[in-house]
């Protein structure tokens, strides 16, 4: 198997009617979901199970004066009430975040954001638990809140984290990448410099299923079993062992069917810990499921980057340098979930898809009185913010140069012969043909015709205000997905490499055990296809097991589009090892030399005599039989792999969005969206397209609707689906997809990740389209009718603060 091999089209169908290996295949997991037989965390019911509910702070910032739980405890159906004081006695009131900070499980001294956890009630049913929350009497002493990140470092700003010794301000870190000096020099000799302030506002991943867990501590065996909404079951197990001092071999994390993750289910939330503590305290299983308001107000937010970009270019439009200063709002605790050595995630990939030598970024992170989080919502560790920045800055440059944004991009895109390409901030892009992808998107869009139509519309609009303004927006993105390698990337000291085990049973049917966890990506199908591709056995004969730490090997989990780049590689390597071992066994069975054997789908046979051979099923039986195997070959047919990726994979794509803006109402209608994605060879094109569709809807949502804003007291204004608006079928157009295929040279089957590509790439295309329609250089998303209308009036608003 060569590294860059693109699988040859193979029309062979399996007895189940599926492709042998890659190709469109209906999903195995659908059978249960379609019948209402999925098993999500909230579907778990255990004998004697109790229900927990969390009391949350109404204030963004307040000192806790007293908590009286006596009335709640007297409720006839309440079993226990846990407060910060209870947890302090167990040394569990605080827990480490994934970014070297601590966060409160239950508040002990102060509350630091609206919705923060204050007490936990355990009752016989959920309704009673929530009733009892009303009976808890908390006295707060309200404090001024830090709401605007731009004022978090003011000398008179209230200090949020006075729990940390010696802390006198709200500063978390300053972090830089790139070469400031080289940037200075490039800017000094540039013909054109464009500067812009760009906000990527706070948004929320809002999966359809909220977060929750069912914890059961068996006092007799000492075993803790937790059914929980996690994208990273193994990492959660280790963290529980480290935090709570529980023996890791006695912890089983089960991540059953997960109703969407998008980054929301990476972190460990107080509710999870409280369900465990609740089970230990009561001796019964305890279920905790958050409601939608709790989900939107307290679990991981995303983005909240306030960016100032400067781009330098020649007057012909050759980009010379890009620099950016970021003010990062991290909320009240630094709970960002990203590799340890990357405090701003992978943001410093912000140079994007273009060829220029100088770049520099500086990121300053601050505490505010808002929920913690930061890396979530399909962002590939902040590449979403990076792509948004560079793609907006390129459009700002096009605006100033009065140059077509497609022409400007084409002039500056990296060329195929530059790969592997080392970016000015140190990333090594593995492979790409960027101009081909952009050309393909422009071809599908009919770009020149669109521009002609736009010119006609603009002419017509001059005399008729009812003619909508037409806008055409582009974005080109380079993603970096599949973290590690482990020497550069770890989370809480756990290196980012993932295990995988493949076993063929005596009859030739296989089980593949994965460390990663599907949340809808279709792993049970795709990973069976990977094994099928290498071993030539039907994908219906491969059962994929995941989401249960007792039955799968260790690994870091599914986020940052890492399943296919990391565990997909692990599965391919495991299958290759099985295939190699099968060859040794076949040679023994067939009494020939190993070198005399040739391979065709699912079968080793003797060169020149195709009738003399063995299928994988026959070899599997032989491997378990009394056949005497050669020295060094153990019986059975299995392999286990820990895959340590040598580099990220770098999927890319070109997107074009066409919008119509009603000047009289500010309503933006997305008319068309063209997406050309290159994620290398597509294992299951149907699933890949589905992943892209979902990400494009995210882009429309973020560009037009989604925002978590706050008023000046720090009240969260996005605490329900009536306030936090998600795109419906009416806001989304029928997506037009195209593709190019550039394999990754270092991935065993050439594939790159794709899960987050469209979420990363699409917001800028929609925003660029809206601004193109309005013919203004800059305004911040989301372009709700009010925001658009204000922008049209030349008075754009900040999206992250309530209207004064």
């Amino acid at each position: 198997m060569t590294a860059t091999e693109v699988p040859a089209p193979d029309d062979t169908r399996t007895p189940g009617g599926n492709p042998l290996g890659f190709g469109r295949m209906l999903r195995k997991e659908d059978a249960r979901f379609l019948r209402g037989q999925g098993r999500y965390v909230d579907d778990v019911v255990l004998p004697g199970m109790l229900h927990g509910a969390v009391l949350r702070s109404p204030y963004a910032h307040a000192r806790l004066v007293s908590i009286d739980t006596s009335a709640a405890e007297a409720h006839p159906r309440v079993k226990a009430v846990i407060t910060g004081q209870t947890l302090e006695s167990l040394n569990l009131a605080w827990m480490p975040t994934l970014s070297g900070d601590v966060t409160a499980v239950l508040a002990t001294d102060k509350v630091r954001f609206q919705g923060q956890e204050v007490a936990f009630v355990i009752a016989e049913d959920e309704y009673s638990a929530r009733d009892a929350l009303e009976l808890i009497d908390v006295e707060y002493d309200p404090l001024p809140a830090v709401v605007d990140a731009k004022h978090a470092l003011d000398p008179d700003a209230p200090v949020i984290r006075d729990d940390l010794e010696g802390r006198t301000d709200n500063h978390i870190y300053d972090w830089e990448a790139g070469d400031a000096q080289a940037c200075e020099e490039a800017f000094a000799k540039a013909d054109v410099v464009v500067s812009e302030d760009i906000i990527y506002p706070r948004v929320h991943p809002a999966p359809m299923e909220t977060c929750g867990s069912v914890a059961h501590m068996d006092k007799v065996t000492g075993k803790l079993t937790v059914w929980t909404t996690t994208q990273a079951p193994h990492a959660h197990r280790t963290v529980y062992a480290l935090v709570a001092g529980l023996p890791e071999h006695k912890i089983q994390i089960i991540s059953p069917d997960i109703g969407g993750g998008f980054g929301n289910k990476v972190g460990i939330y107080p509710g999870y810990v409280l369900s465990i503590v609740g089970s230990i305290v009561t001796g019964a299983p305890v279920k905790w499921m958050e409601d939608r308001s709790e989900n939107l107000m307290s679990t991981s937010f995303a983005r909240d980057y306030h960016m100032h970009g400067d781009i330098a270019a020649t007057k012909e439009g050759k980009i010379l340098a890009l620099r950016v200063n970021v003010l990062a709002d991290h909320g009240a605790f630094n709970g960002v979930a990203q590799p340890t050595k990357f405090p701003a995630g992978f943001f410093h990939i912000f140079t994007g898809s273009y060829d220029y030598p100088a770049a520099h970024c500086k990121v300053t992170a601050v505490y505010t009185n808002k929920a913690l989080g930061g890396v979530a919502y399909a962002c590939s560790f902040r590449i979403t913010e990076a792509v948004y920045l560079v793609e907006r800055m390129v459009d700002c440059l096009a605006f100033e140069l009065k140059m077509d944004p497609a022409e400007l991009r084409m002039k500056n895109l990296l060329r195929p012969e530059q790969f592997p390409y080392t970016s000015p901030t140190g990333w090594e892009y593995d492979s790409g043909d960027y101009p081909r992808a952009l050309s393909e998107a422009m071809r599908i869009a009919g770009y020149d015709d669109l521009r002609r139509e736009q010119a006609e519309r603009r002419a017509a609009a001059e005399s008729d205000p009812s003619v909508p303004l037409m806008g055409i927006g582009l974005s080109f993105f380079t993603e970096g997905v599949g973290a590690g390698p482990r020497k550069h990337m770890d989370i809480l000291g756990l290196g980012m490499a993932d295990g995988c085990e493949l076993r063929l049973h005596p009859t030739g049917k296989a089980q593949l055990r994965l460390s990663v966890q599907t949340q809808g990506q279709g792993h049970e199908t795709t990973f069976a296809q990977i094994v099928s591709h290498v071993l030539g056995i039907p994908p219906e004969d491969v059962e994929v097991l995941h989401g249960d730490t007792d039955n799968t090997p260790f690994g870091l989990g599914t986020y940052g589009s890492r399943s296919t780049p990391v565990s997909g590689a692990a599965a391919a390597v495991a299958a290759q090892r099985v295939k190699d071992k099968a060859r040794l066994i076949a040679a023994t069975s067939l009494e020939c030399s190993v070198d005399d054997l040739e391979w065709e789908h699912g079968r080793w046979f003797v060169k020149g005599d195709p009738t003399k051979g063995q299928t994988m099923a026959e070899i599997a039986m032989a491997a378990h039989s009394s056949l005497e195997l050669p020295e060094g070959v153990e019986g059975h047919l299995d392999a286990s792999v820990v895959y340590n990726p040598p580099n990220l994979t770098y999927p890319f794509g070109a997107y074009i969005c066409v919008v119509d803006v009603d000047r009289q109402t500010g309503v933006v209608k997305v008319r068309r969206f063209i997406a050309v994605d290159d994620c290398g060879p597509r294992i299951n094109p149907m699933i890949v397209e589905g992943q892209i569709h979902g990400g494009l809807a995210d882009g429309v949502g973020m560009a037009l609707m989604e925002v978590i804003a706050f008023d000046k007291e720090g009240n969260n204004l996005g605490g329900s689906f009536m306030d936090y608006l998600l795109p419906t079928s009416l806001e989304c157009p029928s997506w037009e997809l195209g593709m190019t295929v550039t394999p990754s040279p270092h991935h065993p089957i050439g594939t790159k990740g794709v899960g987050e590509s469209a979420t990363v790439g699409s917001p800028a295309a929609v925003v660029n389209a809206v601004l193109d329609a309005l013919q203004i250089r800059a305004a911040d998303m989301p372009f709700t009718p009010a925001m658009t209308w204000r922008a049209l009036q030349g008075r754009p608003m900040r999206p992250d603060l309530a209207i004064e």
């Binding site: 659908d30 979901f33 379609l34 019948r35 209402g36 999925g38 309704y127 299923e209 809808g520």
Partner: protein, 163 residues
């Protein structure tokens, strides 16, 4: 406490409940029909969509008491034994689901649409499912899935008529 009785998926059910019990909790917790999901509390997401007397309703904002004496249908009733309803088949054929959480509500909405309009165009389908949120699919394949179901049930009806 109060006593309610209602037919659910053709079977008579009865229970002593709190008057405030939501229909979604009656179905999920009292009857154990966990195919119906809960997603938002505010009627926005539609994960809890079931039929009440043949019409889709959001069971998270319907009291179980309001269904007393009425007929409820959930996703568990769509398939006829091993034979899937055309909308279920369509969702599978066109990849109209990913995480599966919105799917039961989508299916109930889709079935109701096709019952009143067996040949809906894309705009009609988008309008019909606009009260059901999906975070995975971007709706494209859900629209295609419902079109698939419309076409295949029409073809099936023609075949049956020809026999």
């Amino acid at each position: 406490m109060m006593r309610v009785s209602m037919r659910v998926n053709g079977a008579q059910t009865e229970a002593e409940i709190e008057p405030r019990l939501l229909l979604v909790h009656y179905l999920r917790n009292t009857l154990g029909l966990t195919g119906t999901h809960w997603g938002c509390d505010t009627s926005n997401c539609g994960a809890c969509t079931v039929w009440l007397d043949g019409l889709p309703v959001k069971s998270c904002t319907t009291l179980a008491a309001m269904a007393d004496g009425h007929e409820v249908r959930t996703v568990e009733d769509l398939a006829d034994g091993d034979s899937l309803d055309p909308v279920q088949q369509g969702f599978m054929q066109e990849h109209g689901l990913q995480c599966g959480f919105c799917t039961p509500g989508m299916l109930m909405t889709a079935r109701a649409l096709l019952d009143r309009d067996p040949d809906p165009d894309e705009a009609t389908i988008r309008e019909a499912i606009s009260g059901n949120l999906c975070r995975c699919t971007g709706y494209e394949n859900i629209v295609r899935a419902i079109r698939w179901a419309a076409e295949h049930q029409a073809a099936q009806a023609r075949e049956e008529a020809a026999l």
